[in-house]
């Protein structure tokens, strides 16, 4: 049960901001999200969207635990 967070326009696209999702890896999580929402899958794959696992940016795949926090971050705009 990783906690998944969407920021900026991603949560507008998905219609949710925060969900608990059962997934063993980032790759599996992306597949799962793509399966239920094609628009969100495209938004997550857009240039500049980064992923933070437990508040650290990660590239590529990673294993998720029950307490993982996964955040999808669109390009940061500054304040």
């Amino acid at each position: 049960m990783a906690r998944v967070l969407l920021f900026g326009r991603l949560s507008d696209v998905a219609g949710w901001r925060e969900r608990d999702i059962d997934s063993a890896s980032l790759g599996a999580l992306r597949d799962l999200l793509a399966g239920e929402d094609e628009g969100l899958a495209q938004a997550l794959a857009a240039p500049g969207v980064q992923v933070a696992l437990d508040q650290a940016i990660v590239r590529g795949d990673a294993t998720l635990s029950a307490r993982s926090e996964v955040a999808f971050l669109p390009p940061m705009s500054g304040g």
Binding site: F7, R9, A52, Q55, P75, M76, S77, G78, G79
Partner: protein, 150 residues
């Protein structure tokens, strides 16, 4: 100190506090960013941060500023949530022995905060809502601080 707040704040009150009990600080620079009405084009600005992650990212840059400009101290306060025109979005204060360091550190921190800090910004006006990405000027501003590659 780095604070994110959902409440309106008074930059002056922060400056008063920041000036207290300094006998070797000769120079304090501040910057306050206010939400602009854009002649009615913007009615609300909404800023989203990632609590914990956002403060940590700003903290890394502030540590760099401390070393690079030999700062005595700094203070960053950033609004999140809905902000109406005329309200303060961001306040940065820097303290140093001399003014050049205080100015440059404040300028440096603002360039980072305005272009690369982990915030997501939505403007709502008569034409609807839109998410804002950094302006070309913001990229140019922050490029001033980067060491050219040989």
């Amino acid at each position: 100190m780095i604070i994110l707040t959902g409440q309106a704040f008074d930059p002056g009150a922060l400056l008063s506090e920041f000036c207290q009990d300094r006998t070797e600080t000769g120079a304090i620079a501040t910057f306050t960013g206010l939400a602009r009405a854009e002649q009615g084009d913007t009615t609300t600005l909404e800023l989203e941060a990632y609590p914990g992650f956002t403060e940590a990212a700003i903290g890394k840059i502030a540590d760099e500023a401390l070393r690079r400009f030999d700062l005595h101290d700094f203070h960053v306060v950033h609004r999140v949530g809905k902000i109406t025109p005329g309200e303060a979005i961001v306040f940065v204060a820097t303290a140093a022995s001399h003014r050049r360091a205080a100015f440059e550190a404040c300028d440096f921190l603002m360039d980072y905060l305005k272009s690369r800090a982990p915030f997501w910004k939505k403007e709502t006006g008569p034409a609807g809502a839109r998410w804002i990405e950094p302006r070309a000027q913001d990229h140019a501003d922050i490029a001033r601080w980067e060491t050219p590659k040989p």
